[in-house]
């Protein structure tokens, strides 16, 4: 695979250029790709919660105003409900009944123990109590779900208080004050802030590379919000011909504007380790991308490709000490070779390439000078 497009044993004193030319080793690095794209901040419909009165009634008061921050359990709405008064009255009645039924059962039990009454009577007393209790339990749980604590209920009430069932911001108020509400229509919406999402618009190519490990960073003005991949939405955006990818924003930010566009960096999952060199090592040479490496061995196997009869100039550097590239003495002569490489992908300051093996030493800075000298030699300019 390694192709030497031009092998010039280029010799030149490093004097004056030693500081310009730097060497580095090719590294194996996971190759990930970062795509920058636009994303729209959104919320899924389920996350916009509606507050519904379970009982029909008359909307008596709102404790909150739209946009107000509420915590779970905060009072939001007051509804006067006849149903509730019925329920509470029944609850109280049942309480009394159950006491009576219990007393009845207890006396029947005593009587039965003394043999004064029959098993049958006792059974019917127990059944009557259980019946009352089960009605009482059902009602209690109903009341509980309405936010009323039945044990504290002393008298019947029609005051139904609706509490916020989650942290959030009061959205819209749907039912006007003093109107009648039923158990179907939402009265108010509560926006749950923990569920912000971003829909990133990606080209189809990029979208196909997305995996469950994909991460995204949403940049809203000066802040960056990490987010994770949720789903590749099945429908492409017809208008823009871009695939839509849903990301959930991980931390719950305080105030994001819904529907606004923001920039998002998406890193595709690293898919394999590959040889990378610094981007500054690349240059175009005789129509191909190349990097420069030092020639190390005498009688190089590619010597037969020697260009332009520079045979005379071939002095290999003696005792080349691999790795100790920094301490070239001034005047020491080094030869470089242009190695043609294939670019796989750019990744920030690095570039993944084919055509060089890992840990191979290459010129990572001052490529321009090396190239200049190679081209100069190939022009045939050598002072005699």
């Amino acid at each position: 695979m390694t192709k030497y497009i031009l092998l010039l044993s280029l010799l030149f004193p490093l004097k004056g250029l030693a500081s310009e030319i730097k060497m580095d080793h090719a590294e194996l690095k996971p190759l990930g790709k970062v795509i920058q794209t636009n994303a729209q901040i959104t919320q899924l419909s389920g996350q916009k919660q509606e507050i519904v009165s379970r009982l029909p009634g008359h909307l008596e008061a709102y404790f909150v105003t739209p946009g107000q921050q509420v915590k779970k359990g905060d009072k939001t709405i007051l509804i006067e409900s006849i149903e509730l008064s019925k329920m509470t009255a029944e609850h109280l009645a049942l309480l009394e009944q159950s006491k009576a039924a219990e007393a009845q059962k207890n006396s029947t039990m005593n009587l039965y123990k003394k043999g004064l009454t029959s098993q049958n009577d006792l059974n019917s007393a127990i059944i009557a109590l259980e019946e009352i209790r089960s009605r009482q339990n059902a009602l209690t749980s109903q009341l509980k779900s309405l936010g009323i604590r039945p044990e504290k209920l002393k008298q019947a009430t029609d005051q139904l208080i609706l509490y916020a069932h989650a942290d959030g911001v009061v959205g819209e108020i749907l039912a006007p004050l003093h109107s009648n509400v039923d158990s179907q229509k939402p009265v108010m919406t509560l926006v749950n802030q923990s569920a912000y999402y971003a829909v990133a618009y990606l080209s189809v190519d990029d979208a196909m590379q997305i995996s469950t490990e994909t991460k995204g960073w949403l940049k809203v003005s000066t802040k960056t919000y990490p987010s994770h991949f949720v789903q590749l939405l099945p429908n492409i955006d017809e208008e823009t011909q871009r695939a839509k990818v849903l990301f959930q924003i991980e931390q719950s930010p305080s105030n994001l504007l819904l529907g606004s566009f923001a920039e998002m960096d998406i890193s595709l999952a690293p898919y394999y380790n590959t040889v990378m060199v610094k981007k500054s090592a690349l240059t175009l040479f005789q129509g191909e991308w190349v990097i420069f490496v030092e020639t190390k061995h005498e009688g190089d196997k590619h010597g037969d490709k020697e260009a332009n009869g520079h045979d005379d100039d071939t002095h290999e550097k003696e005792d080349h000490n691999e790795g100790e590239h920094e301490d070239h003495d001034a005047g020491e002569e080094v030869s470089y070779v242009a190695k043609s490489v294939n670019i796989i992908a750019f990744a920030g300051e690095y570039v993944a390439i084919e055509g060089i093996s890992a840990n191979e030493e290459y010129v990572s800075a001052g490529v321009y000078f090396v190239k200049s000298m190679m081209l100069k030699s190939s022009l045939g300019e050598h002072g005699h």
Binding site: S203, Q241, Q286, F369, S372
Partner: protein, 1015 residues
């Protein structure tokens, strides 16, 4: 004839008055004559350049250069069309035959230019300034002492304050700004914001284009008065740009500021100037063609103080290079040679004549003849330059010849006939010699005819010299035949024929030698001609060159980096070089200037090219040594760059030689640049071993990295984008072409709509987001094939065919023999594919042309001279005899050349031509006198008669020889600027005079005997 001279003497005061008047006018002419270093050697040339922002060399060649070339090739008088298509510029240079009027040619070119069809948006062809290749008369930098201003501000000062003022100077054609930054206003668009507000890039461009407008609305009448109506919608503030509405949707407006930041920026540039490690703003004044450079520079310098007062305090103009300085030095060298020559000639005359009055008459003829020559130079528009003045210097010794003959003859006859009327005697004496003098001067003029026949560069260089010689000879003829008789009548005294002691000494030495030679005529003649042929053989082996290098007393380098080098890197290179030179030679070098790339107007250098000029300390003189040392050091230190040592004028001249700035070059013609490049490499390899090759340099036309964005039509259609949409983005968004202009008073600044970060990286470019007007969003790489490749950096063409140059530098060997060997090797070893061919070019070609022309003209001239001699002597034998004297002179010239080691240059050839004239003059004097004696004393034995005649003529022969010799001696010893060009000439003439004189006195008498004894 005699009567004519009597009448002259009769109206002596009229004649005197006439000559005083002529001298007066001559002096005036001398004062007014344009001064230049060289004759105007530049060919008639019209340049057409087309700025085509951001376009590649290939496209420019196809779409601009070729149509222009094709249109121009049919013009009358076209000699050659050269073109160069580079990144962003098409440059076509049309060379015309001389003799056409520049303005007519420009008119014709304009007419043709109108028919050239160049695609919309690809630039407008513009005619280059009407100047010559040497038109850059003055270079200066803007010096900001307090470092108060930014490069952009300085550039603006230059463009809007300095340039208009300097342009108003008479004779200034153009002022070129270079360096600093051009201000522009940037609308920095963020593609993502565009996407968010549902606006396309093209809509922004359109909005910007439409908003910046101003119109007139005529007037309305109100209360008997007129009120003008103006619609002034031009951008005034940056906020005006910011508030430009792009579109309105449901009462929601999107303005420029919603999608972009508007700010002041710097326009992309093609060149920079750095002085002493710091970027500077720099100006170059171009002189209009056919104006007097010295005068223009003088006026510019006067104007500069006004310019400085108009500039803010602390900003000054610093003159870096003044071309007339070298001119002045060159002319000074020649003038001083001329003066010294005149003084030496005067002394010689006095020594020989040993009589004050006759010496005075002869000497006075010198300045008067020169003044007449100046008068004629002015009339014929010849400037005072190195070449024309050296013509005068060569002729100085010959000017007096006619006068000497007339005075001498008058003196002698006056002496012999003390009783006769003075007027009669002098008229008689003048009439006697009038014919030989006339013929002699005619012959001298004829000898220089070959120079007039030279074409091209050689012709332009040497024609003024030849013309000047003819002028001054004509002047001296007028003086000798009109003024001298009058002066002789008024001043000569019949006294004793006082013999000069010098003459006596020479005679005593010479007589035995003459006797010896007359006794051994045959041997002597044979030996002489044997030696001549040996010398001629040696001369043919002598190296040749066109013209010796003019030492311009400056050091300059052309520095070339690899093609595709970025401007930023080039500026860094330049500053490193500057600092290196300044620290290495702090005493010798005052300042270093680098001009990197090109100025914004019509030049073809690219960012990898720069010119570095050193300003040397005025006391410093060892320039060539320093040049050599510094070149070596620079090549060592900056071993990744190419340094070519040159000089400002030399460089421009070199460039004019068919666009090749090398003394020798191989031009490879063909179609495919890769093939040509291969051929060039092959040739370079073949030439590698040839002796004398210092280095070969292939002009690397390829190697410019390009990012090629090719639209993919299918992909485009998928997203509803058009090719134009993409190209618009490339042109305006990436290429920063001005969408509109913001006008601030007289200043105009481009407004560009630049895409943010588009040019950060190849990757960011690829992922640049486009948006179709149907709303589809796509990155550039999805709709275009983006490839990174290497293409031509420039494409050069000559007469509609592409070519590539391999420049060669030959050292320690003459070019002619080198070319011969190299040409043979190339033919044997390099296989040229069909349709590819090579030609030799460069300085060498001029020499070749000149030599060929001379080879034809010289024999013809010889015939003409023979004819003249035959007319004068009425004998073919005598005419031949005199011509045989010519080789005697040439011998000395050849020896001179061989001894000094100079090459056979055109300058040396001119020297040989001068010897021709001298040898013939010597011959005429001697032969005519022997003839005269033979007529008077037919019975005397041949050998005695020849001996007496020769001894009697010794004085005039020696006098003419010595005057010529001493006239030219100052050129031999001159050291100033320009002396090196005339040195070969002086060497040849000096050698020639010596040999010609000695051999005329020894061999010619022998030859005469050989020719005529048998009768």
């Amino acid at each position: 004839m005699k009567n004519f001279f009597k009448i002259l003497i009769q109206y002596k005061f009229l004649i005197l008055a006439l000559f005083i008047a002529i001298s007066g006018f001559g002096y005036k002419a001398y004062k007014n004559i344009p001064i230049d270093a060289f004759p105007d050697i530049t060919p008639k040339q019209v340049v057409i350049y087309t700025e085509s922002v951001g376009n590649s060399a290939e496209d420019i060649e196809k779409l601009i250069t070729y149509p222009i070339e094709a249109a121009m090739s049919g013009l009358p008088g076209v000699k050659m069309i050269l073109s160069n298509s580079i990144f962003g510029l098409s440059y076509v240079s049309i060379f015309f035959e001389d003799g056409y009027d520049t303005y007519l040619l420009r008119q014709l070119v304009t007419e043709r230019l109108n028919t050239v069809d160049i695609p919309q948006g690809w630039g407008v062809p513009t005619m280059g300034p009407n100047t010559t290749g040497l038109g850059q008369v003055i270079w200066y930098a803007l010096e900001d002492k307090d470092n108060k201003y930014t490069p952009s501000q300085l550039r603006q000062m230059h463009e809007y304050t300095v340039t208009p003022l300097l342009k108003s100077v008479d004779g200034v054609e153009e002022v070129i700004s270079w360096g600093g930054f051009e201000k522009q206003y940037e609308v920095l668009l963020d593609p993502k914001r565009l996407q968010a507000v549902d606006v396309t890039y093209n809509e922004v461009i359109e909005a910007l284009e439409k908003s910046n407008q101003s119109v007139g609305g005529q007037y309305l009448e109100f209360n008997m008065e007129q009120y003008l109506i103006r619609g002034s919608g031009l951008y005034k503030k940056l906020d005006d740009i910011r508030n430009t509405v792009i579109r309105t949707k449901d009462a929601k407006t999107v303005t420029v500021k919603d999608v972009a930041t508007v700010q002041e920026g710097k326009a992309p540039r093609f060149g920079a100037v750095s002085v002493d490690g710091k970027e500077r703003v720099f100006g170059m004044v171009l002189q209009r063609s056919e104006t007097n450079a010295a005068k223009v520079v003088e006026l510019i310098k006067e104007k500069m103080s006004l310019v400085e007062s108009a500039l803010p305090k602390g900003v000054k103009l610093q003159v870096i290079y003044d071309r007339t300085e070298i001119t002045r030095k060159a002319v000074d060298t020649m003038t001083s040679a001329l003066l010294t020559g005149s003084v030496l000639v005067a002394i010689i005359l006095f020594l020989f004549l040993f009589e004050l009055r006759s010496a005075f008459i002869v000497i006075i003829s010198l300045p008067i003849s020169l003044l007449i020559a100046f008068l004629m130079m002015e009339e014929y528009g010849i400037s005072a330059n190195l070449m024309s003045l050296s013509g005068l210097a060569i002729a100085i010794g010959m000017i007096v010849d006619g006068t000497i003959v007339v005075v001498e003859n008058s003196f002698r006859i006056l002496h012999d006939n003390p009783k006769a009327s003075r007027a009669d005697v002098i008229a008689e004496a003048t009439a006697e010699v009038a014919k030989p003098v006339l013929f002699a001067l005619l012959i001298i003029s004829a000898v220089f005819i070959p120079l007039l026949s030279l074409e091209g560069l050689a012709g332009k260089l040497y024609t003024p010299m030849a013309l000047d010689i003819v002028f001054v000879m004509l002047g001296s003829l007028a003086v000798a035949l009109l003024l001298v008789p009058v002066l002789s009548y008024m001043m000569l005294k019949e006294g004793k024929h006082s013999n000069s002691p010098l003459m006596e000494a020479i005679k005593a030495f010479y007589t035995p030698m003459l006797m010896f030679s007359l006794q051994n005529t045959k041997k002597l003649v044979t030996l002489t001609f044997f030696v001549f042929f040996i010398l001629a053989g040696m001369l043919s082996q002598q190296g040749r060159e066109f013209m010796p290098q003019l030492n311009e007393e400056t050091i300059m380098y052309r520095v070339i980096a690899i093609p595709g080098t970025s401007l930023t890197q080039s500026v860094e290179n330049a500053q490193a070089i500057e600092n290196f030179i300044l620290t290495t030679y702090p005493d010798e070098v005052l300042s270093v200037l680098s001009m990197v790339g090109r100025s914004e107007k019509g030049e073809t250098a690219q960012a990898n090219y720069m010119e570095v000029l050193l300003t040397l300390s005025p006391e410093f003189e060892e320039i060539p040594a320093l040049d050599k040392e510094l070149t070596k050091k620079l090549k060592e230190k900056f071993n990744y760059l190419q340094f070519i040592s040159t000089q400002p004028i030399a460089m421009r001249i070199e460039e004019l030689l068919e666009g090749v700035s090398a003394e020798l070059a191989v031009k490879i013609y063909g179609e495919d640049q890769t093939v040509m490049s291969d051929i060039a490499a092959q040739i370079a390899e073949v030439l590698n071993g040839i002796e004398g090759l210092d280095h070969a340099e292939v002009e690397t036309q390829l190697g410019q990295s390009q990012i090629n964005i090719k639209p993919d039509y299918l992909a485009l259609s998928r997203y509803g984008l058009s090719v134009e949409d993409v190209m618009q983005v490339i042109r305006y968004g990436i290429g920063e072409e001005a969408v509109t202009q913001k006008i601030e008073g007289v200043k105009r600044f481009g407004v560009v709509a630049k895409l943010k970060n588009a040019k950060q990286d190849i990757e960011t470019l690829k992922t640049l987001i486009l948006r179709s007007n149907t709303g589809k969003i796509v990155s550039l790489q999805e709709v275009c094939d983006i490839s990174v490749e290497q293409g031509p950096a420039f494409i050069k063409r000559q007469d509609l065919s592409r070519y590539m140059v391999l420049s060669l530098e030959v050292e320690g060997r003459d070019i002619a023999t080198f070319v011969k060997e190299a040409d043979r090797k190339i033919k044997n070893q390099v296989n040229l594919p069909d349709g590819y061919y090579i030609k030799w070019a460069g300085d060498f070609k001029n020499m070749q042309e000149a030599t060929q022309t001379l080879a034809m003209i010289i024999p013809a001239t010889l015939l003409l001279i023979l004819l003249l001699l035959y007319t004068a002597f009425n004998s073919l034998k005598k005419a031949l005899l005199i011509l045989l004297g010519v080789p005697l002179g040439l011998m000395g010239g050849i020896v001179g050349l061989l001894v000094s080691g100079e090459y056979l240059s055109v300058s040396a050839i001119v020297g040989f031509i001068a010897i021709f004239a001298i040898a013939i003059l010597n011959g005429i004097i001697l032969v005519s006198f022997i003839d005269e004696l033979r007529k008077k004393f037919p019975e005397v034995k041949m050998i005695d008669m020849v001996k007496n005649a020769t001894l009697l003529r010794l004085r005039p022969v020696l006098m003419t020889a010595f005057t010529t010799l001493f006239g030219i001696l100052p050129l031999l010893f001159a050291t100033g600027v320009g002396s090196e060009i005339q040195y070969p000439l002086a060497v040849v003439v000096t050698g020639g005079i010596i040999s010609s004189t000695i051999l005329t006195l020894l061999v010619l008498p022998s030859l005469y005997i050989q020719f005529f004894e048998k009768k």
